[in-house]
Symmetry: C2
Subunit: 400 residues, 2 copies
């Protein structure tokens, strides 16, 4: 075969996919890179506190896992049977009867979002999300080519009439919700709202994707029933050990409904064959070791104190006329600056004082509210939180 | 809000996605389930031999990894910097200059196929594959909505004229190839074929996705340059530790070209944020420990003996008129039964004699060759291979 004459320019390489252009790198993660200087106190990340990880318990679990012959071999796409049994047992104890066969282990719950998208969405399909919404979910839905419609809040409550109206108007494939201690807002749908959301889904015939990474991080108030309890056929549940054991393990799961279980399994197989066999086995050993409960109790006690430190300092931190919520759990407080202020320009001056947060604008699927910001309270000690918020207050001439 | 009157049937749930229907569960994996009875000698799977895994070396690597403070925390989407450096060093030593910044760590190379699809393919785009082709790649491309066109072989050689003709006709986004010890055929593109493939890609302006999970499993013959060496701007490389360390770790990577690096990173972030931090750190510790080289030498010696045992027994196993190849490495021998025979019906009778293989039909994107079959030689000792092939020979009235 002859080569092209040298006077002819070689053909250009094919372009990237259109959907590849639809997703941008996460501003939160780009920001994390900017705030990596050790002198910065960053309320921007959503990082669990590493000093609370049960490293020795996890080490023992990996050691035990490596005694099993199959732990380094290929495994089934659905995941480690023992791990699924342990997760199922915890759901059942939490009031939601579940068996191992309802569960598919995923490489973190981020992957679960992708598998649900593959299973349920064709390009152009519409879904509903809370407005604002977890950023990496928006990114995944964008890569799937979904049309994303935000359901607004009225104050701290989801606008249930808007949910029903938008469902009727758009026939969404699903409504994506983080019902408990939401990222970014820390908001929780109360019992009445949960019942209404479940009833609307049943009445209007859409699914609910219920993402619960923070459910176990409750510091006050009573546990609420999951949406899956209220509308079992309509709800696909997502869970994760990232916030209660450690994110580095990348262990999440999908609690499927029977009608999609085999399709999700196929999507999982195509995605990465299966999640790390050894990490799954270690997680299963850790769960049966009984070390998880005291470790979680330590996490809850520490995070409760950190939340309280933040809530106590916020009145003297944020400019007069600001509002914020008081979450019963999770990792985040959501605040809103007074009329005329802009959180992104505030961040620029905060960074000069070595303190950071995330402007809320990043989390909106539609028109952003430029006055909002997200503050994470889990990463630092109460004293360091007070120091950070004092710096932040100085940004606004507060810090009184 | 009122509920619907009880006489009205509740609306049906939204259907699954169309693309979800386009992928079937892997027949190979379904078959693996069927052959799990311990009395079955299965040449069907593509499993590395677990007794050759360096469990103690890997245990030491996990132990060392757990001494690092960040190992249980969230990490960057591109992957562990030390691991990327070690992988880059190995590429460079292999004749392909590479830096850590060219690499993105993936959750096995299966995930790499998905990320490449997300980055390069919109539904309806055409790609070229070898015919037959790695099954799980076909599955991933189907989920991406790709139109897959197979490039035929002439004997054991890829039909290079067909490759060029199909490229001109279809303007493919890429040509997917496993150039060394291919799955399922064990075939390797020789130097001349590699040069021709690289030149055709440059002349016709398509990318090459060069999947190299078996490259290091060479038992005879000389190493060949990678396609990335011959057409650096056109080739995206995929690699994996599944066959040389252990598949349970789920560590693979993409060697990107500069023009797609950030898009692949975004796709990776959306897919699962990042691969298990602890598995990546353990892999990096293992690579620098120096234990990998002697462990690989043990694997190569064992697999070479297993390949030889299979090749020695095949003449008395397969029916007269069968053909098969003699691969210089990898895990598979590809055989073709005589005119008029069918591998799938042979499998049914083989299973009654407690022996299994994979009919080749599964691996074709277009019209399957029903006479072909894939035999894996890595899982068993030479004696067990001889016993299995003797059972298989009896299936055809051979086993003389």
């Amino acid at each position: 075969m002859s080569t092209a004459p040298s006077s002819t320019a070689p053909p250009r390489l094919p372009s990237r996919s259109q959907r590849s252009g639809s997703a941008k790198t996460s501003p939160v993660r780009d920001l994390l890179a900017l705030t990596e200087r050790p002198e910065v106190i960053s309320f921007a990340g959503g990082l669990p506190a590493p000093e609370l990880f049960d490293v020795e318990g996890i080490r023992a679990a990996f050691d035990a896992a490596l005694d099993s012959p199959g732990v380094l071999q290929y495994s089934t796409s659905e995941g480690d049977p023992k791990l699924r049994e342990e997760v199922a047992r915890r759901y059942t104890a939490d009031g939601l009867p579940t068996t191992a066969s309802d569960l598919i282990i995923t490489t973190g719950s981020q992957q679960a979002l992708g598998l649900i998208s593959t299973t349920l969405l064709d390009p152009g399909d519409t879904i509903l999300v809370e407005e604002p919404c977890y950023l990496a979910a928006l990114q995944t839905f964008a890569l799937a080519g979904a049309r994303v419609v935000g359901v607004p809040y009225v104050g701290d409550d989801l606008d249930l009439e808007a949910l029903e109206r938008l469902a009727v108007e758009h026939h969404p494939k699903f409504f994506y919700t983080v019902p408990t201690f939401q990222n970014p807002t820390g908001r929780t749908h109360d019992l009445e709202a949960r019942r209404a959301i479940a009833a609307i889904a049943q009445r209007r015939g859409f699914r609910i994707v219920e993402d619960e990474p923070y459910r176990q991080l409750r510091y006050s108030g009573d546990a609420l029933p999951s949406l899956a309890e209220l509308a079992p056929d309509h709800v696909i549940g997502l869970g994760s050990f990232s916030k209660v054991i450690a994110p580095g393990l990348r262990i999440g799961w999908i609690r499927t409904t029977a009608d999609i279980h085999s399709s999700v399994t196929i999507a999982k197989q195509a995605a990465d064959l299966h999640t790390s066999t050894i990490d799954q086995a270690a997680a299963a050993h850790y769960l049966v070791s009984g070390r998880g409960e005291p470790a979680l109790a330590r996490i809850l006690a520490a995070y409760a104190a950190r939340r309280d430190a933040m809530l106590q300092a916020l009145p003297s931190t944020l400019p007069d006329g600001s509002t914020w919520n008081r979450p019963d759990g999770g990792m985040f407080v959501w605040a809103r600056l007074p009329e005329g202020m802009d959180a992104t320009s505030s961040l620029a001056s905060a960074l000069t004082r070595d303190v950071a947060f995330v402007p809320g604008s990043s989390f909106f699927s539609g028109r952003p509210d430029a006055r909002t910001l997200r503050l994470s309270f889990t990463t630092y000690s109460p004293a360091r939180i007070r120091e950070g918020l004092s710096r932040l207050g100085a940004t606004w001439g507060a810090g009184r």
